[in-house]
């Protein structure tokens, strides 16, 4: 079996990718995708921790991951709806053009 740290490194890498996407991209949909990657990185961690903890009956890690997947789906649904609402009004999804509120 591969050591736990491999999974953790994979998760950290995925998280960093997502973080970069969320920080560097200007398209709101791309930012949202970055955030989804960050959430999935957390899922990998949770499942890996659960698998290596040796606890068979305590399913906390798995359950947590399942809930995160559900929440991520809800988040995507709400997020895309909001992006559409903005697009209808402003004809753009570039986050740098959302500057009515500032200061």
């Amino acid at each position: 079996m591969v050591p736990l740290s491999w999974y953790l490194i994979l998760a950290a890498f995925l998280f960093t990718c997502g973080l970069f996407g969320a920080l560097a991209r200007r398209n709101a949909i791309a930012v949202l995708m970055g955030i989804e990657l960050m959430l999935n990185a957390a899922n990998i961690n949770l499942v890996a921790f659960w698998r290596y903890s040796g606890a068979v009956t305590d399913l906390a890690g798995q359950v947590f991951a399942l809930f995160i997947i559900a929440v991520a789906a809800a988040e995507a649904a709400v997020g895309l709806a909001l992006i559409i609402a903005v697009y209808r009004k402003r004809k753009t999804v570039n986050v740098e053009e959302l500057d009515l509120l500032a200061g």
């Binding site: 953790l8 998280f15 997502g18 969320a22 709101a28 930012v31 949202l32 955030i35 960050m38 959430l39 990185a41 957390a42 899922n43 961690n45 949770l46 921790f49 903890s53 606890a55 305590d58 906390a60 890690g61 359950v63 947590f64 809930f67 995160i68 929440v71 809800a74 988040e75 709400v78 997020g79 709806a81 909001l82 992006i83 609402a85 903005v86 009004k89 402003r90 986050v95 959302l98 009515l100 509120l101 500032a102 200061g103």
Partner: protein, 480 residues
């Protein structure tokens, strides 16, 4: 796991069940209604739900402390926080009654979302498990993202909601990653067990410390600590004002309650490290919040930066990690709910609906034409600046007292200096109301619910100031 185990202590989440049932009822009623007129009943139904949840909370109060499935608890602290949240939700509903028809005719979803957000908040305040905590956080966050964009036709409102959503989801992912690392370090998601394990030094430090740091980020975002606060003014300004009022009091209370619980139950052994981190965050938050508020012309933005600064004051109470500090924080949240919702209610009477905001000059000369409204605003402003014998004074007093008794005198001094700065911008509103001439005649808006909530908040601000023992006596009899 059998049915008996599932239903044991089910009463702990009775308020949440009531709220969920009423949320469904509201949606159902909205579908079944015959014409526009009947939609007036929806806020009343919402209020009924909130009152029922309050009654349920009061009922639990008289029962022994119990926990449902080790996921939620009904101790004094959780019930106190629930009460504050329900009060904020009730007031927000009253404020929405006359406001909503002007911005969006679809009322069913709005009130259902208010109830669901309240559910998430009260759940978060009682959560004792990282999974429940995260779920509750997301339930109310998602509802609030939608609510802040509820004035769909207004670009400011949609912009606010988009910003809130993107940054909120961003912060949530840090929170989740932190929770995952903490799970890895302790092998469980239950807060108290995490605390027990970490106390006997079983955690893996390489997982534990980044985990704690990322959790702090998640909470820091929700309660608007500097530097995670930057969304606050934009969202507060762009959201429909009743939603702003609800958010400012409700989210803060829920997030701080969970914050306190995580710190006190899961991480008491690490107090020395997080104490300093929180102290620095508190100083930054108070100072940046107050200084930035000095330069605001918009009442809503001013209150938003003031909300940031207030998060800093509350954080001061958390730094020493004492039970006294937790109670002080809860008391502060109670006073803050009344005075801040009250101040935003005054903003609602004055605001220009298409800007979703009122600039300070709209308050000019208010005292001459609407003396009672000006008096109410003065009570809120004086209370926010911490002048006795109003509620806000005792909020600050207990918080700083907790800091001094915990050995953080310097932090209390910084807090006191900060509230001196804050007096400047709160007083400026009073100067405008009493000493300036109106530039344009502003006809304040009124409806029954608004007047009622103004009266309630102003009275509460005064009465808590005169008899703080009402609430504190109430709390001190309870554990936690």
């Amino acid at each position: 796991m059998n049915i008996a185990a599932l239903t044991a202590n089910l009463h702990v989440i009775l308020p949440e069940m009531v709220l969920a049932a009423f949320a469904l009822l509201v949606i159902l009623a909205d579908m079944l209604r015959q014409d526009e007129e009947e939609s007036r009943l929806l806020p009343l139904l919402t209020l009924a739900g909130i009152l029922a949840a309050m009654a349920a909370t009061a009922w639990i109060w008289n029962r022994p402390v119990a926990s449902y499935q080790e996921g939620a608890i009904a101790d004094g602290f959780a019930l106190g926080a629930r009460t504050v949240i329900l009060v904020a939700a009730g007031l927000a509903t009253l404020l929405s009654m006359g406001y909503l028809p002007r911005i969006n005719r679809q009322m069913g979803e709005y009130y259902a979302l208010v109830l669901l957000a309240t559910l998430g908040m009260t759940m978060m305040a009682s959560a004792t498990d990282l999974i429940v905590l995260f779920l509750a956080l997301e339930i109310f966050s998602l509802a609030l993202y939608i609510l802040s964009g509820y004035y769909r036709k207004n670009p400011r409102s949609t912009e606010a909601s988009m910003k809130y959503f993107l940054l909120g989801a961003f912060a949530s992912s840090f929170f989740v990653y932190g929770a995952a690392l903490l799970y890895g370090a302790a092998g469980t998601t239950q807060l108290r067990e995490i605390g027990n394990l970490l106390a006997s030094d079983h955690g893996n430090p390489n997982l534990l410390w980044p985990g704690i740091a990322l959790l702090l980020v998640g909470f820091g975002f929700k309660v608007s600590l500097v530097p995670f606060h930057m969304w606050t003014p934009d969202v507060y300004q762009g959201a429909p004002t009743p939603v702003t009022a609800f958010m400012s009091a409700g989210t803060k209370t829920a997030a701080f309650a969970a914050f306190v619980r995580v710190l006190m139950e899961a991480l008491p052994a690490q107090q020395i490290q997080w104490g300093w981190a929180l102290a620095v965050l508190a100083v930054l938050t108070m100072t940046v919040g107050n200084l930035t508020a000095l330069r605001q012309l918009s009442l809503k933005r001013m209150l938003a930066y003031s909300s940031v600064a207030n998060a800093g004051y509350i954080l001061v109470a958390l730094v020493p990690g004492t039970a006294q500090g937790s109670k002080a924080a809860l008391f502060y949240l109670l006073t803050y709910a009344f005075m801040n919702v009250g101040a935003l209610a005054v903003v609602i009477t004055l605001e220009k609906i298409d800007e979703l905001d009122a600039l300070q000059n709209r308050a000019a000369g208010l005292a001459d034409r609407w003396p009672l409204l000006a008096l109410a605003m003065s009570i809120f402003m004086l209370s926010l600046s911490g002048i006795p014998p109003l509620a806000g004074f005792f909020g600050k007093f207990f918080v700083f007292q907790a800091a001094v008794e915990g050995g953080w005198t310097w932090l209390a001094v910084v807090g006191v200096l900060n509230s001196a700065i804050s007096a400047y911008y709160y007083l400026r509103v009073m100067v405008a109301m009493y000493f300036h001439e109106a530039e344009e005649p502003v006809q304040p808006r009124r409806w029954g619910g608004l007047s009622l909530s103004l009266a309630l908040t102003a009275l509460a601000t005064v009465i808590i100031g005169l008899y703080p023992s009402l609430w504190t006596g109430f709390l001190s009899g309870l554990g936690g």
